[in-house]
Symmetry: C2
Subunit: 445 residues, 2 copies
């Protein structure tokens, strides 16, 4: 089934065939197909789907499409959707909807659910609490394996996952976990207490989602329990939701490292004013910081005026410095984000970067010397001035580029800010001062 | 149990307590703890672990530590490890080990396993084939649910996952999948054929791992079947291995975007020569490309000589151009990588960037005009020249920055190469030409 086939069947009003073929697809694909139709037709098809499938498809619609559908369905239909949605999907939707629709949704939630929704909406954005869900399998340790399997058989359809089950005491305190694999391969009359894993790894509601993602990556879990301050189980996070978090965290870093305020919205869905707003602040800050480089040049105007050819190499020096610094800062920022580099490695990193920059700087300086001496027909002393400055610039750039992200981390600032653009601005100024000092010294101006 | 406690127990030779406390930990944590010990002691503790746990711990050791352990264990022990390892872990290890150790490992593999290993080693790096494993649950459609559950109970411990089971015909062709959840909630006497999902989403052995990761992200699966050209099931990929792929692909993009050859090795584990090698090529290429900017400046030497203050603004113009271009190219490269932007969106992207750059460029130009007019005490005409150039530079930078990644994608080149450093070099040259043309025109030089 593809878009053409769907539209063909709609046109021919062959709805029975359409329903049959559609229901063979994965809900993600159905959602995507329906989004290509106008709201009226989409709703028509949406209503044909079985109730369970319809809810799953709904959860995969884009925010805009969800809004359109909610605006058009009856109160009864909305009630059905709200009741069947997984709790984390409902929270996501509530967070994105305008007030009148939220009111409509809350009207259909049960009393206790409503207070739960309010509690969830209060978790800080990007915290474990804000991405967890409450549909988990809850077991007691005195149950037998057979009891547990029957419990899952009865309630499993409505759970986000049944593959990890949680054992709690009467105060909801987490006592252990047991996997469905373990249940299936164990004897029916063993007790849960005998087979459960007591060394449970968990996160707390206020942990950052990046921390949560790192726990998933480290252990390869399919789900992770979330507990509150009193160590009571309040929800779980499943691995499929974490994959989005991993992408989102990387995207945020990409954006910060390119001097933008991070945004979760997809590029094509973001308005140009919003995109402009996310970009202008850093551009302004960096532009104004460039005042320093301008001042330095003006201070040494006489040097430039006496040997005007020196100006020609300023862009090359600054770009190479910027690129060298970006390389180092990028590796360090990424290493910090993935936990491969820690604060205690600062010394090792610096020493490493110093040696690398000496090698790289030397090669660049030698190639550059012959390049400008032979092809740009400058004198050997000018070529030497430029190349020596280049060598030192590369070293400074790499040391600054590796130092700033680590220093930021130390001060609890996001290291991703200390990337290419900022490093370039700092290195520009240092490199220019060096250039003029070295020129005065070698060329005797 | 932490490192201190471990070393304390070792010193006091309280091995029974040590074994008991160790076995309560997750295998990932045990592996990390053992890596902190010297090889001799690590091996001593490693040998205390139960066989199953030992193998799991071994799979989580770093390559270096695996090598040390293999070098020291007896042939019998190595045989046990090799036999118990999951196939994908074994392939990973074989790929990283020196020839003499590989020979030692292969000696202990069974005949049919050896030919399978050879087949796996031939899959292209970063392909689905190279990351899949062969330990999946294989069901037949005529089985009942009860049969299937008993089959899992018997063989489940040795499978990478039991949560998705694969239904194949006698020629190993994939006919359907069924989840353990479905098995557990279905009646024991139903046939697998009745409950299996026939619309199976799969990848092929030669698909790129990035494609595989995108399928996981789209559908939220826990495992994905891998078929060969004849559509026979050859392996499965589980979600825990895909999380590494997602990180790895993002890291590669970070590295390429900062003008480095990508590397999978951890920063701290990479030698400085290797790091230098990954950085020098692009630095050289970009440095030599800067020849153009140098030439442009030398061509307009007379303009600079007559109004030397113009030189002072070259760094600011070039940095702002570079930053503006990086912002656009970063968003587009990331959007392309996540599949949020496609080739067909080229027109929309360009139009969007053109409008954004007009807004951003205008703000920057106005702020800059007053900044240099009031604080840098230049004449209004010079301020106008600089600001007008800045405005046009931002537009050019953003258009080039969004165009090049899309063009690269179109030509099947990795868009990540068209990032900050390259964009900066291109924009530098264009911006300088503009600067001198506008200066000649406004200032009448």
């Amino acid at each position: 089934m593809n878009e053409r086939r769907l539209k063909e069947l709609i046109q021919q009003k062959r709805y029975v065939t359409l329903k049959k073929e559609l229901e063979e697809l994965n809900q993600v694909d159905i959602a995507e197909l329906l989004e290509e139709l106008d709201v009226h037709t989409a709703l028509l098809i949406f209503r044909m789907l079985s109730k369970d499938l319809a809810v799953e498809v709904f959860a995969h619609f884009s925010v805009e499409h969800q809004r359109n559908i909610i605006a058009k369905v009856t109160d009864k239909e909305l009630k059905d959707i709200v009741e069947e949605l997984f709790f984390d999907d409902m929270i996501d939707i509530i967070e994105e909807m305008p007030a009148n629709i939220v009111k409509k949704i809350l009207k259909h939630a049960k009393e206790e659910e409503r207070s739960l929704i309010n509690q969830f909406l209060k978790y800080p954005p990007e915290s474990a609490g804000s991405i967890m869900t409450i549909e988990y399998v809850d077991l007691k340790k005195h149950m037998t394996v057979g009891d547990a399997l029957r419990h899952i058989k009865r309630t499993g359809l409505d759970k986000e996952t049944v593959y990890t089950c949680y054992v709690t005491d009467k105060n909801r305190k987490l006592e252990g976990i047991v996997s469905l694999r373990k249940l299936v391969i164990s004897d029916e009359d063993k007790s849960i207490e005998e087979i459960m894993n007591k060394d449970v790894i968990y996160v707390t509601t206020h942990d950052d989602q990046e921390t949560v993602a790192n726990v998933f990556k480290r252990y390869g879990f399919l789900a992770l329990p979330v507990v509150d301050k009193e160590e009571r189980l309040t929800g779980i996070i499943t691995v499929d939701d974490i994959m989005d978090v991993i992408d989102q965290e990387a995207t945020e870093d990409f954006q910060k490292m390119a001097a933008m305020a991070p945004s979760e919205e997809r590029y094509l869905d973001t308005s140009i004013l919003n995109l402009a707003k996310h970009r202008i602040v850093w551009l302004l800050v960096l532009m104004i910081s460039a005042t320093f480089t301008g001042r330095i040049i003006r201070k040494y105007e006489d040097v430039l005026q006496s040997i005007v050819v020196l100006t020609a190499f300023i862009p090359m020096l600054m770009d190479t410095g910027g690129n060298s610094g970006s390389q180092s800062s990028t590796l360090i920022i990424r290493g910090l984000a993935l936990g491969e580099i820690e604060l205690k490695d600062a010394g090792r990193v610096l020493w490493k970067e110093f040696r690398i920059s000496t090698i790289v700087g030397l090669i660049l300086a030698i190639v550059n010397f012959f390049r400008i001496y032979l092809f740009d027909t400058v004198g050997p002393m000018v070529a030497l001035t430029v190349s020596f400055t280049l060598f030192l610039t590369v070293i400074i750039a790499k040391v600054v580029g590796s130092l700033l992200p680590i220093a930021a981390k130390r001060l609890d600032i996001d290291p991703a800010i200390m990337a290419g653009p900022l490093i370039t601005t700092v290195v520009d100024a240092l490199s220019l001062i060096l250039y003029f000092k070295i020129a005065s010294w070698i060329l005797g101006i």
